[in-house]
Amino acid sequence: MHWILRLVGVILIAVLTVKSSLGNDDLPIVTIGYLDLIQDVRYEDWGVHPVDIRSATAIVDRRAYAGAQLAIDELKQFTRIAKARFAMQRETVENAASMIATINRLRESGTYFFLMDAPDSVVGEVAAQTRDQDIVLFNTTATGDALRNEHCQQHLFHIAASRSMMADAVAQYLVSRKWTRVLVLRGPLPEDIEMTRAFERSAELFGLNISQIRDFVLGNDPRAREANNLNFLTGSAKYDAVFVADVDGEFSLTVPFATQKPAAVTGASGIVPRVWHWSYLRHGAPQVHGRFERMHGRRMGEADWGAWVALKTIGMAIARAKTTNAVEVAAYLRSDKLRIDGSKGPGMSIRTWNNQLRQPIMLTTENWTITRAPIEGFKHQTNDLDTIGHGERDTNCKF
């Protein structure tokens, strides 16, 4: 009788061990805070087509949260190997101050990882005010170069590509096409000035010749025709390509096929650098699009991709580093062991000098991915991905 009991006991233990090694109920829960703003001009105004502004049906929610939702669903499949369950808590707040307060509150309840979908100024302020905390922030959409240079923070990781990376991608493409004389049309917003500055840096780096920088304004006033009329804006200059710095996006719609000389248009319209575009057909990208579209019924945009990759990075880092401790995970992110698969080609990793995700940039039209930068032939001594964006030698970031 005893041996039967013992046998039952052994079987029971065996069953329990198998169950606990594969079961999920006793695993720790890693909660990731998702922070965005109630009002965000980047979604409400920028890049919205004038027709869509009047339309009741064409306005769609383009927020990065959709990408995070896809990722959190996928992270269920990471449970067995990460030995953790993943949850997400979204907090949509008014401004940087309330975002900081939210982080402090969530940190108290054991949340150490945060995704931020906010513009440069908010990301910069939140990161500066939380720098002494044992948390990790992921910037999914802010593109400013200052965040990666003078305003960098050790606990802030940039999944979004910087303006310099975008400008370098365009410059490499123009050089590869031998369209080396470039006319720049610059918008009035601070972001346009910064984008132009980034492009000037790229032009110098890759040997483009900026024939002129001309400021444009939106409008029809004949007295300001030098600045609002494309005949004047693109006349009497020598160029092979026109680079448009226009974060608002309305003016740039009018530029392709409307320049005085037959020239490629790039920047905010025409050949647009993007971290992600639905038209890409390789490296498993169609599978990611498919999953996103089935979940949300729309195309997957750049912001969605940023949030998706950020969460995937957290999940894979926890699995590989075998820890849920945020400080240890951050150290793993900066190590040379990390490779993130963003379904756009080469394995991605983090630049240790400014916490920027090194990644390919897509050069796209409205419905096609022409190529990816780094463009073939642009070589770097350690990693070709570092031919785009600030390198170790020209960064101003000091952690």
Partner: protein, 328 residues
């Protein structure tokens, strides 16, 4: 002098062509699935002429022999089915159900069950390859499951999950998941050594191979491919071929345009042989003197002499050639 050199050059080419046809037995045909053309190209292994271009369902990808090489099963991913090609008549004679979007599949050594990866549904579907009836599906096999490899004893299947970077080991007969192991980045295809001791899996993004103990499922080793002139990001190992004695493995390296030759026992990479762009599918001839690989980005196949370790011929096929199988 010029004339002499000219003769020399051509005689070399001729001798290469004369050396190549050793495709004995069977029909001697090479079958290549063209993913973007919805066709299978049939090439005569003796003279490398195209025998037939067979229209298939959409996105033909993996192909496997069935019933002693009298049937070639073709996964038509876009048409959600596996098509049965009669090798004698070169006609498609039947369709099998294998879940949605079957990509890579495998048949157990006894020929009773077919296991297919359904990439979009994160599932594995098990089908009777003779009746075409679906037996069961296994869910929860990572994200974008791809490689399907039977252990030679037929008892377990190794499934790779491209997104979770894991190998999921399943018992296809009971439909249970036995284990899951973290390997390199973007694991694609696997192969089990003939002695059933090791399971090798290519990690496309990591440029490596992870080796598991095929019995205990523990990660025991890793092989890193590196060669001066090849960039890390270009080394994308995908498919395998292994000699029957289990001594030599051939691994296609994708954008690096090379095939790596590995000594299985020592894990040493002994050679890198030049092939076409995005080389991925691979198959050995029965005599193991030639390796045929598909080049996904240059729309052709390369024939490699395994003794001289050099490419001896290339043959244009359809767009995006995926898998190659040889009937010899």
């Amino acid at each position: 002098m010029f004339f002499q050199r000219h003769i020399l050059c051509c005689s070399t080419v001729l001798s290469l062509i004369l050396v190549t046809p050793v495709f004995a037995e069977g029909t001697g045909y090479i079958f290549v699935s063209n993913e973007a053309d919805n066709t299978v190209t049939v090439i005569d292994g003796k003279n490398f002429e195209i025998v037939k271009i067979i229209p298939t369902g959409e996105r033909p990808r993996d192909m496997r022999w069935h019933k002693n090489n009298t049937q070639l099963l073709i996964a038509a991913s876009g048409s959600d089915r596996i098509e049965v090609l009669d090798v004698a008549s070169l006609e498609i004679i039947n369709f099998l159900e294998a879940g949605e979007d079957p990509e890579i599949f495998s048949i157990d050594p006894s020929g009773k069950i077919l296991v297919a990866a359904n990439e979009d549904d994160n599932e594995v579907t098990i089908t009777d390859p003779d009746t075409g009836k679906q037996i069961r599906t296994i869910e929860d096999v990572g994200i974008e499951p791809e490689g399907i490899t039977f252990r030679n004893d037929g008892e377990v299947v190794f499934v790779t999950s491209e997104v979770t970077n894991t190998v999921i080991i399943i018992d296809p007969w009971s439909g249970t998941i036995l284990d899951e192991v973290l390997v390199g980045n973007r694991p694609r295809r696997g192969i089990v050594t003939p002695d059933d001791k090791e399971y090798w899996v290519t990690n496309e993004l990591g440029g490596t191979i992870s080796i598991l103990d095929a019995q205990t499922f523990e990660l025991i080793d890793e092989i890193l491919f590196e060669k001066p002139g090849m960039r890390e990001g270009d080394i994308n190992p995908v498919d395998f071929a292994m000699t029957a004695d289990g001594k030599t493995a051939y691994i296609t390296l994708g954008r690096a345009r090379h095939v790596a030759i590995v000594d299985v026992a020592s894990r040493d990479v002994t050679d890198y042989v030049l092939a076409g762009d995005r080389v991925w599918g691979a198959a050995l001839t029965a005599d193991e003197k030639f390796l045929v690989v598909t080049n996904g980005a240059s729309d052709d196949i390369t024939i490699i002499d395994t003794i001289k370790k050099v490419a001896v011929n290339s043959v244009p096929v359809g767009r995006t050639p995926h898998t190659v199988r040889i009937d010899d």
